[in-house]
């Protein structure tokens, strides 16, 4: 990296900090901080949702998986786009009409106050972990690209400006800066993409090279056989994406900032439509790199290598400009997430637990403090991740798939479509589904494949153990892809538990007619 590159990134970071401070003047009451005063229009929403969605996880993490496994990881993006469009048409208008600020607030309307507080606190913590993963990717990329091996310093560089301007400027800062950052993200991707394809000799030549080297799976959208990202993965990720677009606080909160339900829906649909073709811009450079420079063992290091070793050859300052796009992607995601955690903590935990209604000034003080607290937790998680060896994409999928799906089940499936569901059923389904999902991912599936589960199964019934062993023989080679069943286990368990508990319990005198009126 040259001095010019550092100067470009420095000016960009300074500009963002300054803009955050200026925008803070727009914050007069808590709704301005949480949902930008509900003033946002479709194209602004399209930009802010897309910029929130895109982060270094896409450019570095998914590009890296494209490098290692091939183009099929694009389904993670595409299923998300489909889900955004569906959610914009069917779910967002209902939630927006209810004028809620968060999913837990909807859960209070639908089920009970205690469920709101519990899920608000839980979801806030889960978002901090998620943010830690994003920060880890950014800091790793910083180390690889610049060669300055100070992981902690990179954590600070990426997080401090984001924490500062989201704590001061709230949802207004997020919306305005996201629109600017979206342009930078796209510009960066539009520079990197043709350079990578050019270095690989063009798309046709790349395809011929993979075929000649017996690695045509790299360019198969749906790989056949036992690949990690086969049809089972696509189905699992479709389920997770549906959850993400319908209950993810970070995405929904942007849509809740819409001027009216119709504009919220339009913003979501626009975001889904534009991200679909753009996904090629961050997956294909990774795929091309498999030809340019094979042999990188950690997939998270592949795209940083491309940026640091190839981009400077095409002109001075190009790397600096592309890095601005990457920093923009990262900061837009971090700020939106911090804003959401602050909303959850203030609106769903502090405001509900406190018996007396706080003043607007007190609320703003608490929301800013919780933004800072979230930032500190995020740095802590990212620091801890340095000592793990799993790729960031897999860590992300494990957390999202297992913990989040039961929330989708109780909020959308039961919350909107089955009036008989009780708060006891919803709570049992959420925690029971999550617990079983975690067990299947970390205990049941691995222990089944290494054989250590058989004595336990034999103790239950020799017949069950014999059949389990026979099935193991049939699916040998599919060990890794079987981990994709964890999201189905957690959501399936949530469905069964919620149904059973709701049928044996009764919700007394709870008024949720308001919810049905909004259909």
């Amino acid at each position: 990296m040259t001095g010019l590159d550092y100067a470009i990134v420095g000016v960009f970071l300074g500009g963002m900090a300054l803009a955050g401070l200026t925008i803070s003047k727009l914050i007069k009451q808590s709704d301005d901080f949480f949902v930008a005063g509900r003033n946002l229009t479709p194209f602004v929403l399209g930009a802010t949702i897309t910029a929130t969605n895109l982060s270094m996880f896409h450019f570095i993490g998914m590009g890296g998986i494209g490098y290692q496994k091939g183009i099929s990881i694009i389904w993670q993006n595409w299923t998300g786009c489909m889900a955004l469009v569906l959610s914009g048409i069917f779910v967002i208008p209902v939630l927006r009409r209810l004028r809620v600020r968060s999913v837990p607030e909807f859960l209070e309307m639908r089920y009970s106050r205690s469920l709101r507080v519990m899920i608000g606190a839980f979801w806030g913590l889960r978002l901090c972990i998620f943010l830690g993963i994003f920060l880890y990717i950014a800091a790793t990329a910083g180390v690889v690209i610049t060669g300055w091996d100070n992981y902690f310093a990179w954590l600070m560089i990426f997080s401090l400006i984001a924490i500062m301007y989201s704590a001061i400027g709230g949802a207004w800062a997020v919306a305005i800066m996201d629109s600017v950052q979206f342009a930078f993200i796209l510009a960066g991707a539009l520079i990197t993409f043709p350079i990578a394809i050019h270095l690989a000799g063009g798309l046709r030549s790349l395809s011929q090279w993979f075929t000649a080297h017996g690695d045509s799976v790299h360019l198969q959208l749906v790989p056949s056989g036992a690949g990690e990202f086969n049809w089972l993965f696509i189905l699992a990720i479709l389920l997770i994406s549906t959850k993400w677009a319908t209950v993810d606080q970070v995405i929904l909160q942007r849509a809740f900032g819409a001027k009216n339900p119709r504009m919220g829906a339009q913003g979501m649909v626009l975001s889904g439509l534009i991200t679909t073709p753009l996904a090629f811009l961050w997956i294909l450079p990774g795929v091309a790199l498999a030809r340019i420079h094979p042999g990188i063992s950690n997939p998270d290091h592949a795209i940083p290598w491309l940026l640091s070793h190839q981009l400077p050859m095409f002109g001075k300052g190009i790397l600096g400009f592309v890095l601005c796009g990457l920093v923009a992607a990262q900061v837009s995601t971090i700020t939106a997430d911090i804003n959401s955690v602050a909303t959850l903590f203030t609106s769903d935990v502090y405001r509900v637990v406190r018996r007396k209604e706080p003043s607007q000034r007190q609320l703003l003080r608490v929301v800013r403090f919780s933004s800072l607290l979230c930032g500190a937790l995020m740095i802590l998680v990212a620091y801890g991740l340095k000592f793990t060896d799993s790729g960031a994409v897999r860590a992300n999928l494990a957390v999202v798939g297992i913990v989040d799906l039961p929330l989708f089940v109780i909020t959308i499936v039961f919350g909107l479509f089955w009036k008989r569901t009780t708060w006891q059923g919803a709570m049992a389904g959420f925690f029971g589904g999550g617990a079983l999902g975690i067990m299947s991912y970390f205990v049941i599936v691995p222990k089944y494949f290494d054989g250590s589960l058989y004595p336990f199964l034999h103790a239950i019934s020799p017949w069950v153990a014999a059949h389990a062993a026979a099935w193991h023989e049939n699916i040998k080679g599919y060990e890794k892809s079987m981990l994709s069943i964890a999201p189905f286990v957690s959501s399936g368990a949530a469905v069964v538990i919620t149904t059973v508990v709701s049928l044996v319990t009764r919700q007394k005198n709870y008024q949720c007619e308001k919810v049905w009126e909004c259909f």
Partner: protein, 66 residues
């Protein structure tokens, strides 16, 4: 060496980038103008209540009627 596939992806990306620079800039301009007018208006008159007819529709039927 670039081929038509690369050019097509690049062109779609460029169009989206241009549209998303121009349109949000106009929309923000409009939002800030209306916020400014609202601020000036509120210093002269009592804040409007939700029954003034400007309130947001709460149900699908209200939305249709509006």
């Amino acid at each position: 060496m670039l081929d038509w596939g690369t050019y097509a992806i690049e062109a779609v990306g460029l169009v989206i980038m241009c549209v998303w620079i121009v349109v949000p800039a106009r929309e923000f301009k409009r939002i800030f103008k209306s916020l400014k007018e609202k601020d000036e208006g509120s210093s002269f008159s009592v804040q409007r209540s939700s029954s003034s007819g400007d309130a947001e529709p709460r149900t699908r039927n209200e939305e249709r009627l509006k």
